[in-house]
């Protein structure tokens, strides 16, 4: 059983996954941020690998990625930073990024290095289902990594079921068809999540996009196994350069 599956075995509601950008706010903040997230109650960490053209992210996360790139963050640097992280961090860690830097690094080499340092899963939003099935899925499985697909309110039931079959770890439900950080009416989101809940899927479901505080976390977690927070946490890091304090205050406000 993977570290991600282990989490859901012990906790099937209010699971909190927090996104952070590798190399942000400073090149060497990656581990400090991850430690702070673990210490303050994050159940999983989604670690973003910065990219010049992050189509599925909103402006806040893109800006943090631009800073990380300026700081000198690369995939090779990231694996160096993560070399010994399992000595101090035991929550599951998922790498999130885009195909181009991963292809350039070498897809198999990337999976091998990720698994070797102790990463648990991958989110690559622009890796399509067809290419996953024909080319990349086997490589990901070979290294024992979970692969998390996204579903949206526009995804048909039939397709949700296909994607559920292909995914492992959990399903990432986009709470509205929007890039991260957008605010939308949460009533519609709840209906959509109820719909997903009724499908009785194989994987747990975490809700992402637009979750920023105690109230939105609670609404999202009501009809799913938990939620993912991204832009709101990056904003908190933008507003307070003390990573420990910013993380503590932010997560206490969400979970408190």
């Amino acid at each position: 059983m993977s570290r991600i599956q282990e989490i859901f075995k012990h906790k099937n509601s209010n699971v909190l996954n927090v996104y952070c950008t590798a190399g942000f706010p400073k090149l060497d903040s990656t581990l400090e941020v991850m430690r702070a997230l673990q210490d303050n109650g994050a159940d999983l960490i989604e670690l973003g690998m910065p990219y010049s053209d992050p189509l599925a992210d909103g402006p806040v996360i893109q800006a943090s990625g631009s800073i990380a790139l300026k700081n000198g963050m690369t995939i090779a640097n990231l694996f160096k930073q993560l070399k010994d992280f399992r000595k101090e961090i035991n929550v599951p860690v998922i790498l999130m990024g885009y195909m181009n830097p991963v292809l350039q690094y070498g897809f198999e080499r990337f999976c091998a290095d990720a698994a070797a340092v102790g990463v648990d899963g991958l989110i690559l939003p622009d890796l399509p289902q067809y290419e996953f099935e024909t080319e990349y899925g086997d490589i990901i499985k070979k290294y024992g990594l979970d692969f998390i697909f996204l579903v949206t309110p526009e995804t048909s039931e039939e397709r949700v079921r296909q994607i559920d079959e292909l995914s492992s770890g959990f399903l990432y439900a986009v709470s509205s068809s929007s890039t991260t950080g957008n605010e939308k009416d949460f009533g519609l989101v709840e209906k959509y999540l109820q719909r997903l809940q009724n499908l009785k899927l194989k994987n747990p479901v975490l809700v992402g996009f637009g979750i920023k505080d105690k109230q939105t976390f609670a609404s999202a977690a009501k009809h799913a196994n938990g939620a993912i927070i991204g832009s709101a946490y990056i904003k908190a890091l933008n507003e307070n350069s003390n990573v420990k304090v910013a993380t503590k205050e932010f997560l206490h406000a969400v979970l408190g």
Binding site: S52, A56, Q62
Partner: protein, 398 residues
């Protein structure tokens, strides 16, 4: 004997190893809708009738095929210019904008978005939206808005909303990112009119089909003038590659016709200020398809440079990547300086002021060993009105 066709991608959108649809799930439904419907819609009788009528009476097609006698004499060969510069709005971009907006109407979309670099595709899309009474939003890099003011003014007068892309390098690639994000955020009522043969399947194929009118006309026009439908060379500039795709399309499977693509070398291929993607790029994924991409060794997409905003793009359409990779296409590059010289030369020889983009194709003539037996068709993709301030800087410098 089975003959491989270069025209059509496979059913997943691959030309050889390039293409596909590398898109996040949020775009899946819209892209899938296009994949399942575009062929039926664009080859329906009602679509063809409306499209062809607009190309004729609104755009002014067929665009002339002009024998450039004095230019031919300079190169000791026969050169015909395909006059896309004479189209309404001044470039080939309108062929695709009309096609896609008609398609969007038939898909029930009420809102049109587009990206633009130099502004030609933005102007073409804003024009068609004005004609059809549709809402139009154009994303344009903040840097490009500064340097292409006349086209920004045209779009505004045409009723389009021009939104500055302020992320990243604030040019065409970032405008494309912003347009894709808009489409993600507006999944039901919006159609994204991509201006080049780039993007996820089916865009490269769809845009190539809408631009293929260029080579369809060249064939019969050349037959009228020379008795043969086939030239020895077709030359076009390539940024993303839409005018080249259109000019090559009906010659792709005619092996005797040499297809010559001219990329923008900027200040020189090795200067660090270039947009010659096939010379400097490697396989990558950009804006939804696998192609050749200019990038760092870490896979970050780099900002190219060209004097021509329309060629200032760090990728190339997957069709062209395949033509390059397979050897079917001949890929040349021309510098800023060579292209400006070629523009002044054409103006002096033929009384035609070309767009900076098309001037790259003209500059490519010097790199081919043409003879009096050759018949060359050069796609003059756009007119130079928008580039007058750049040209005048050269005049003032002399």
């Amino acid at each position: 004997m089975a003959i491989q066709s270069y025209q059509k991608p496979d059913d997943k959108g691959y030309y050889g190893k390039f293409g596909g649809a590398y898109i996040p799930e949020m775009l899946h439904r819209n892209v899938e809708e296009l994949v399942s419907k575009y062929m039926d819609i664009i080859y329906s009788a009602s679509f063809q009738k409306e499209y062809n009528n607009l190309l004729k009476d609104y755009v002014g097609r067929p665009s002339p095929l002009f024998l450039a006698e004095r230019l031919s004499k300079q190169f000791n060969t026969t050169i015909y210019l395909k006059r896309e510069d004479l189209n309404h709005t001044g470039a080939h971009k309108i062929n695709n904008a009309i096609g896609q907006v008609l398609l969007a109407q038939r898909l029930g979309k009420k809102r049109i978005i587009a990206e633009t670099g130099a502004g030609q595709h933005g102007v073409a899309t804003a024009t068609v939206c004005a004609l059809m009474g549709l809402e139009c939003i154009v994303y344009m890099g903040a840097v490009d808005i500064e340097r292409q003011a006349p086209n920004v003014a045209r779009m505004k007068m045409l009723g389009a909303k021009v939104i500055a892309a302020t992320s990243g390098s604030q040019t065409l690639k970032d405008a494309t990112n912003e347009a894709i994000r808009d489409w993600i955020n507006n999944p039901t009522d919006t159609h994204y009119v991509i201006g080049s043969v780039v993007g996820p399947h089916p865009y490269p194929d769809m845009v190539a089909r809408f631009q293929s009118i260029i080579s369809e006309e060249i064939r019969w026009q050349l037959k009228e003038k020379t008795g043969s439908e086939l030239p020895t060379h077709v030359i076009a500039c390539v940024g993303g590659g839409s005018n080249a795709a259109g000019a090559f399309y009906h010659f792709l499977d005619e092996p005797s016709v040499k297809l010559v693509a001219v990329e923008a070398a900027g200040l020189g291929v090795d200067s660090g200020m270039s947009a010659a993607t096939t010379k400097l790029g490697s396989i990558g994924v950009l804006h939804g398809s696998k192609s050749i991409v200019m990038q760092t060794e870490d896979g970050q997409v780099v900002e190219p440079h060209s004097i021509s905003a329309g060629l200032d793009y760090p990728g190339i359409g997957p069709l062209h990547a395949h033509l390059f990779d397979s050897g079917r296409g001949i890929f040349l590059s021309a510098t800023d300086e060579e292209s400006v010289q070629a523009a002044f030369n054409l103006t002096k020889q033929e009384g035609i002021i070309p767009a900076l983009e098309s001037s790259h194709a003209l500059a490519g003539l010097h790199q081919l060993n043409l003879t009096d037996k050759d018949v060359v068709v050069l796609c003059l993709s756009g007119r130079g009105d928008k580039d007058m301030s750049t040209y005048m800087k050269y005049v003032d410098a002399e």
